[in-house]
């Protein structure tokens, strides 16, 4: 590199100090440490503290022990847990196998992968809100609406999509699949491209059929990607709120059919101004996510395959 003037620092001592091997990395990671304390550790501590409080504004705070947690044992919260779990289940049940198959298709010769890959990816560029605006009106009650026209083709009577539980779940999962299918395809496709061709050729010579090759070669190579995609889908599923908000325009959905755990937290804390109670819901959600994380770590080792 060409000669250059070093940054001006007052005096030799400072230059030496700030440039020493132990100080440099510390200064460089400082933004993370500050952010970690201010926007992670403190809020985490705070949500536990708030969950034992009744909060009316900033000055009127009272400790009420476990009352918030006792009040969580109610049908609306249980329903939110059920909706969250069902949503998580269906998004994984679709968003792992389907993109795997489509990625295998795209990885074959002469299917127009260069066209299909970006096209399938485009939905990811939308905000949930924009996607929700489309799906809200596509799943309108009206018999002329898109979803009802489509089910009408196979002879189904018009459905009141966003007013009944199962059709609502269908709409939520459809929205999620629409936005994430292309991303997951890219994950699987890049994993597929690491498989050496010779393995397939060797297997073919040994007389392995297409399904056997898929089972014994492709799937083992995809395993880390399957684990990764499942993991992010579990996080996404448990934290789901914006999809439901985008379809209904409120955190509280009619008959709680689309209300998730985060939706419940939001509704309690920000709409009904029961911050302590909302915090208790947040703590429960936090503990559930931590249990999943620990299971994940136990089952699959490291958080990611990345080294450290």
């Amino acid at each position: 590199m060409q000669k250059s003037s070093s940054p001006v620092l007052p005096g030799k001592f400072f230059r030496k100090y700030f440039n020493s091997p132990n100080v440099v990395p510390f200064i460089l990671v400082l933004p993370f440490l500050i952010s970690f304390v201010l926007f992670f550790i403190y809020p985490l501590f705070s949500i536990f503290q708030m969950s034992f409080q009744e909060i009316h504004g900033f000055s009127d705070v009272r400790y009420i022990g476990l009352a918030n947690y006792k009040n969580l044992l109610n049908d609306r919260f249980f329903s939110a847990i059920r909706v969250t779990m069902t949503y998580t289940f269906w998004t994984i049940a679709i968003l792992v196998p389907l993109p795997t198959v489509l990625a295998v298709f795209l990885n074959s010769k002469h299917v127009g992968a260069a066209f299909f890959k970006p096209v399938l990816f485009i939905p990811q560029l939308t905000s949930v809100i924009v996607a929700g605006i489309f799906y809200r009106f596509a799943f309108s009650d009206s018999p002329d609406a898109l979803a009802n026209t489509l089910v009408g083709i196979i002879g189904v009577e018009p459905v009141r999509w966003l007013k009944e539980a199962t059709p609502t779940m269908f709409a939520l999962v459809t929205l999620c699949v629409w936005r994430w299918l292309g991303v997951n395809i890219v994950y699987f496709l890049s994993a597929l491209q690491t498989i050496p061709r010779e393995m397939y050729e060797a297997a073919a010579i040994d007389g392995a059929g297409p399904l056997q090759r898929f089972w014994h070669i492709t799937l083992p190579f995809l395993k880390p990607t399957i684990i990764y995609v499942t993991t992010i889908s579990v996080y996404g599923g448990f934290a789901m709120f914006s999809e439901s908000y985008a379809l209904f325009g409120t955190a509280r959905t009619p008959g709680e059919i689309g209300s998730t755990m985060v939706g419940y937290l939001y509704q309690q804390a920000f709409v009904e101004a029961r911050m302590g109670f909302g915090a208790a819901a947040g703590v429960v959600l936090f503990l559930m996510v931590m249990i999943i994380n620990l299971l994940q770590l136990k089952l699959f080792g490291a958080f990611r395959r990345g080294d450290y």
């Binding site: 992670f40 795209l106 485009i122 489309f134 911050m275």
Partner: protein, 282 residues
């Protein structure tokens, strides 16, 4: 790899199935654009319909959208651009510093523990933190303020992770030659290493800016004044069950997403790489 065989039939079948999903991916955009030209009352009455009903087309909604007396859309657009710009620049500076330090200074004592802290932040969904963060923002007087939107997620952990992985592959010999040339450690980072990290900066710029442009949950919590909202949040205030602003909804949604799609088409490879860079490599 010819998993499904070499023959034409399977090829045609695969293309057919892929085409069905391509239609599934693209159709919503067609309907959003068509609906943007129809009065909001049509949406309330019929929803989105297969028949476009061209005879009902009007440009009225677009006029409403850009009339500052009728809507705050112009403000939302400007805010989205501003917040996204600030979030991206600040995020790139901070996350590249941290990721670089974690990747390059292999003898730094706290390297692993800090990296585990980064992973920990990645493992907890933001949604759990919104309530205490909201309280903190009110306390710090950052509520309803651009810094309240940007600062809590400025050190975006996925980007730190990515920069760290990228830095692991940097040629460390160049650090020694930089030292011999009299550069400080910061000089080495800025003058030698950042130019080598350009691809990583590109990918992270796309990841951070798209996240920021499309963010919903946090801006919704931390912003209140209608003139300070972002596009998605502004639009979501129009979807209330009692709303009668449906005229603005469709054109507003279209104008939020069309520029992004144009950028995507100009540079799809970089977008796809950036937005999927959270994944494990290889």
């Amino acid at each position: 790899m010819d998993l499904v065989g070499r023959n034409k039939i399977s090829q045609v079948l695969m293309i057919c199935i892929l085409s069905i999903f391509a239609v599934f991916a693209l159709l919503p955009f067609y309907f959003l654009i068509v609906s943007a030209f129809k009065p909001g009352v049509e949406m309330i009455r019929h929803g989105i319909t297969l028949n476009p009903y061209f005879e009902k087309f009007t440009l009225n909604q677009f006029k409403l959208l850009f009339n500052p007396k009728e809507s705050n859309y112009f403000h939302w657009y400007r805010n989205s651009l501003l917040y996204t710009g600030v979030q991206t620049v600040l995020g790139l500076v901070l996350t590249s510093m941290v990721g670089y330090a974690l990747g390059v200074y292999t003898r730094y004592k706290y390297r692993n523990i800090i990296f585990i802290m980064v992973l920990l932040v990645m493992m907890i969904p933001v949604e759990i933190m919104i309530l205490p963060l909201y309280k903190e923002m009110v306390y710090l007087k950052l509520f309803d303020n651009i810094w309240g939107v940007v600062l809590p997620f400025a050190v975006f952990p996925s980007a730190v992770f990515f920069f760290r992985q990228y830095s692991l592959g940097l040629p460390l010999e160049l650090m020694d030659s930089g030292r011999i040339d009299g550069l400080t450690e910061y000089g080495i980072f800025v003058r030698i290493m950042i130019p080598l990290m350009k691809p990583a900066f590109g990918a992270m710029a796309i990841l951070i800016s798209m996240n920021s442009w499309n963010a919903v949950v946090w801006p919704m919590v931390v912003l209140r004044n209608s003139k300070k909202l972002t596009i998605p949040i502004g639009l979501s205030t129009l979807i209330t069950p009692y709303g009668n602003n449906y005229d603005l909804l469709m054109p507003g949604a279209v104008l939020a997403v069309v520029p992004i799609i144009i950028l995507f088409m100009l540079n799809q490879k970089a977008f796809i790489e950036g937005l999927t860079s959270g994944s494990i490599k290889g």
